[in-house]
């Protein structure tokens, strides 16, 4: 046995994180540093707390960016189109979709599962990564949670409208009626209602609760502006304003509205230490509650298929495989939204660093490979199980009439994320954006492929081929519009990044940090207010 003398100086030296070299081009913005002795900074640009607040609140308080209105106009119109499609469906009946026997379930449930899957990233980032103390998550968790909630809203639409007689959808809930007809508690479709309902409630609570300190910051900033006088001339007047034109000096009603709007939402938050204590406790409790929900929701969704005895649907790996796929698509959607936002909002790159993006790419590779693992297991057991129907179902998936869907799925979900093994791929933003969209397409096809199994009924005479109608297509496109509209509103009116949480992971938040002493003790949270 060789005894090495422990090296005290060595350990001490490592106790202090070293500053990375920002000029090294291989580290992109200074964060992609491989040296194990260095922790990459989480916030760039030598920011102090004040500038963090100013930047993030500025995205809401400044003039609406020019791109926002056309984007909102298009999104809202597409959302309107979706709404019209739903109305058309309700007025006419589900026959307007391409559903027939044997494929009596297709785009409606595909869209549902796709959206619910996307809705997994937010809670994973805010709950599981919180429990794992992944500090880099602070700059994207608010963003991802908002996405989660809007995705679940879109998801919830589809089961509601696909039941045929929409006015009877309330019977999914266990409400006793005069005929004493209860829902079928043995049906996984009913478990879905509970699972998704619980998930939505907890995610919404988590999102909202996490936002309260930031809403209070917004309230305080708006309140400070209530009496601020603004002087301006008529809209048509040239600039600078000639002296003879009458000027108007008013206080802006928008500031008063904002003060009340954020004030009500902030629920009397005063940044007191007792508030923070309760907040932290509630945060960790909600994180604990959300964590099993991340797994349970998509597991229950997978039960929709897996409890059946249909070849291709009944396989035991479905629950974790669906969860991995959900996280996979959710991260892809976060990237799809984050990359343009990062380019459009000034200063966002200081928070969402190259390393944040790289980490997300890696999660996409891991979860994409898990999904690939599950595809392989399914195929292997379909053969090994020696059930001819099962084998047939999988062969038809890969080589039958829907072969194109199957191979789109494999290419997009298993092959495409493997590019992130290479650093150039993880650092090229346009490329990542492209892959994120490819993954979303792939995950939509994954659910579609599962559904196409229905087209091969047990009797050859009952085989069919599903083709979507224009209503199918526009309903799906419409759901994208609803999602985008909600997201644009979120970007415009709510703090996109968790201000207080980002501050928590900055070096200044550490009581041993020299800057902390420089400003005097206790400035951490006071600065958070203004």
């Amino acid at each position: 046995m060789t005894v090495f003398q422990p090296d005290r100086e060595f350990a001490l030296g490592r106790a202090r994180p070293r500053t990375p070299d920002a000029h090294d081009p291989s580290t992109v913005d200074g964060t992609l540093i491989d040296d194990p002795g260095v922790r990459a900074p989480l916030v760039l640009g030598n920011r102090d707390f004040r500038s963090v607040t100013a930047t993030i609140c500025g995205w809401i308080e400044d003039k609406t960016p020019k791109w926002w209105f056309p984007a909102f106009f298009i999104a809202a119109n597409v959302a309107g189109l979706g709404t019209v499609m739903i109305l058309y469906l309700i007025i006419t009946g589900v026959g307007v979709w391409g559903l027939q026997i044997p494929v009596a379930w297709s785009w409606d449930i595909t869209n549902f599962v796709w959206w619910v899957g996307i809705g997994h990233a937010g809670t994973l980032i805010s709950a599981i990564l919180c429990l794992f103390k992944q500090k880099w998550r602070t700059s994207i968790n608010r963003f991802a949670e908002a996405m989660t909630i809007f995705a679940v809203i879109c998801a919830g639409t589809f089961p509601g409208i696909h039941v045929g007689r929409v006015w009877m959808a309330w019977m999914l809930f266990p409400i006793p009626n005069y005929n004493w007809i209860w829902p079928n508690f043995r049906s996984p479709l009913l478990w879905d209602v509970f699972a998704v309902g619980t998930y939505f409630t907890i995610s919404l609570l988590f999102w909202y609760m996490g936002m309260i300190p930031d809403l209070a910051t917004m309230r305080d900033r708006a309140t400070a502006r209530i009496d601020e006088k603004v002087t301006f001339g008529p809209l048509w007047a040239p600039h600078p304003l000639p002296g003879f034109i009458k000027r108007l000096t008013i206080t802006l009603p928008a500031n008063r509205i904002a003060a009340y709007f954020y004030g009500i939402l902030a629920m009397g938050w005063r940044m007191s230490s007792r508030h923070w204590w309760n907040y932290e406790k509630a945060y960790i409790l909600l994180a604990g509650m959300s964590t099993p929900l991340v797994l349970s929701v998509h597991s229950v969704v997978s039960f929709d298929f897996a409890v059946s005895i249909l070849p291709g649907w009944h396989t035991t790996i479905f629950p974790p495989y669906f969860v991995a796929g959900a996280i996979f698509s959710g991260f892809a959607m976060v990237l799809t939204l984050l990359i343009p936002a990062r380019a459009l909002y000034p200063g966002m790159k200081d928070f969402v660093t190259a390393r944040t993006i790289e980490n997300m790419c890696k999660i996409i590779t891991v979860t994409g490979s898990m999904v690939g693992f599950a595809y392989m297991m399914e195929f292997f057991i379909a053969w090994y199980g020696a059930n001819p129907n099962e084998k047939e179902a999988f062969l038809i998936r890969a080589f039958g009439p829907y072969w194109w869907a199957y191979w789109i799925m494999v290419t997009c979900n298993v092959v495409s994320p493997q590019v992130f093994w290479f650093k150039w791929a993880r650092t090229s933003i346009p490329f990542i954006f492209l892959i994120s969209i490819v993954v979303n397409i792939g995950m939509w096809f994954e659910r579609y492929v599962i559904l196409t199994t229905l087209s091969h009924d047990f009797l050859t005479s009952s085989w069919g081929y599903f083709s979507p109608t224009w209503v199918d297509i526009f309903t799906f496109v419409g759901s994208l519009g609803i999602f985008t509209t909600l997201f644009l509103l979120f970007m415009r009116f709510l703090p996109m990044l968790a201000i207080s949480e980002v501050k928590n992971v900055m070096p200044q938040a550490d009581p041993h940090h020299p800057m902390y002493h420089g400003h005097g003790h206790g400035n951490g949270h006071q600065n958070g207010g203004h």
Partner: protein, 421 residues
């Protein structure tokens, strides 16, 4: 920074990070001797009885072999995951995971023991359908005219079976030795880039680990009844191993701490986080086991349910209830309150409890394959023997070197680790 100075001085003092020379010598020798003795008793008990007794001995031994293989395997997975995510908090604990991982040869020897024991038993006892095979598909009399074997034979051949086993062993030995070498070489030369190399290796190692673990579970457990199949089975073995290796490592840490080692290196904060991980993987195991059972139960397809029907009959039905309660509900309740997760006594007891439950879980999956048999005294002997050998090897391994990676670049981070809530 004054805190860190004091911490580092105390943390890295030699009597904090080394056990004394010859520590645990009599313990590991005793454990090893008793364990090997019990293995010998299992073999003798099998040989001197009838074919069914031999089969019981074989299955009991194989339960332990899967257990002894799984724990180092799980630890290797944890080490690779910790490297992959650049974990800082666990730098002071990683050496114990590595020590458990280092027992890979013991696990491999245990599995080879299953191969050898089967080969011996089938030669001692007369051939025929009842011959004491672990893997009945190797028994020509058993598979004669079996249509399912006819459909699956390409997978169920001796060449593939032993060839794949060799491949798994090679991959696991290669990965675990390389990871161990990076870590111990860093102790010697202090080169922080060893950490980066270990990280790169882990990236490649994890997919290899996933596939080999899954197929090892298929080969060594699922094909015990080659009629049955479940896509989840690899994940089930992984989940069980994670619980097993976390409980083992945490137990080692708790014991070292109670022997007055690892001050500052393994604080209540580390204990808390390790307990959380143990709790998390206990729930994960329950999730995987439940999903597998539930989907098969609900669909009620004869070729799938048969496997569980056998395990719901006779004495096995007690285990069918006991394992979920003991392996999930009890630890779930006991590890849920925060104060208990920070108590070494409670956590240590939970580790012992979970290690026992983990063995019962494997026992419930493997042992009922001896059809029409009840519990036998050989069950206790056969399962405990190899596990004691593993425990002895672990004591020897832990005592053989420094208890923390002495020059890990993230040591400072781990020493100052705290939980805010």
């Amino acid at each position: 920074m004054s805190h860190s100075h004091a911490h580092a001085d105390l943390a890295l003092a030699p009597d904090n990070v080394y056990l004394s020379d010859n520590a645990g010598r009599s313990l590991w020798m005793g454990l090893g001797a008793v364990g090997l003795g019990l293995v010998a008793v299992t073999v003798l008990g099998g040989i001197t009885g009838d074919a069914k007794t031999a089969s019981i001995a074989l299955h009991a031994y194989h339960t332990a072999a899967m257990y002894v293989m799984g724990i180092p395997l799980g630890a290797m997975g944890v080490v690779m995951i910790l490297h992959q995510v650049n974990a800082g908090w666990s730098a002071t604990l990683r050496r114990q995971f590595e020590n458990v991982m280092r027992l890979m040869p013991v696990g491999i020897a245990a599995i080879i023991g299953s191969f050898v024991l089967q080969a011996v038993f089938v030669r001692v006892f007369p051939a025929g359908e009842k011959a004491p095979y672990l893997w009945n598909w190797m028994n020509p009399a058993y598979i004669d005219g079996d249509p399912l074997y006819a459909a699956k034979w390409p997978y169920l051949t001796l060449w593939r079976f032993y060839g794949c086993a060799l491949l798994y062993f090679a991959i696991w030995m290669g990965l675990s030795s390389a990871l161990w070498n990076y870590s111990t070489r860093q102790d010697a030369d202090g080169d922080r880039w060893h950490t980066a190399r270990a990280r790169k290796l882990s990236a490649v190692g994890l997919p290899l680990f996933a596939f080999t673990t899954a197929f090892a579970a298929f080969d060594w457990v699922m094909t015990l009844d080659f009629h049955w199949f479940s896509t989840m089975f690899g994940v089930w073995y992984f989940a069980g191993n994670m619980v097993g290796c976390l409980a083992t490592t945490l137990l080692v840490l708790v014991l070292l701490r109670s022997f007055g080692r690892l001050h500052v290196c393994f604080t209540d904060e580390h204990l808390h986080d390790m307990s959380k991980l143990l709790f998390g993987f206990t729930v994960f195991w329950a999730y995987i086991s439940f999903s597998q059972y539930f989907l098969i139960w609900y669909a009620m397809i004869p070729e799938e349910t048969l496997f569980f029907i056998v395990r719901r009959e006779g004495v096995w039905n007690y285990l069918a209830w006991g394992v979920p309660i003991g392996h999930f509900i009890v630890p779930f309740i006991l590890l849920l309150p925060r104060p208990w997760r920070r108590k070494r006594g409670v956590v240590g007891l939970m580790c012992v409890w979970l290690l026992a439950m983990h063995a019962l879980d494997y026992f419930w999956f493997i042992r009922p394959e001896v059809k029409g048999s009840g519990l036998h005294w050989l069950d206790a002997v056969g399962v405990v023997g190899p596990i004691l050998v593993l425990a002895g090897a672990l004591v020897r391994q832990v005592a053989s070197g420094p208890l923390v990676p002495l020059k890990d670049p993230r040591l400072g981070e781990a020493l100052g680790h705290t939980n805010t809530i």
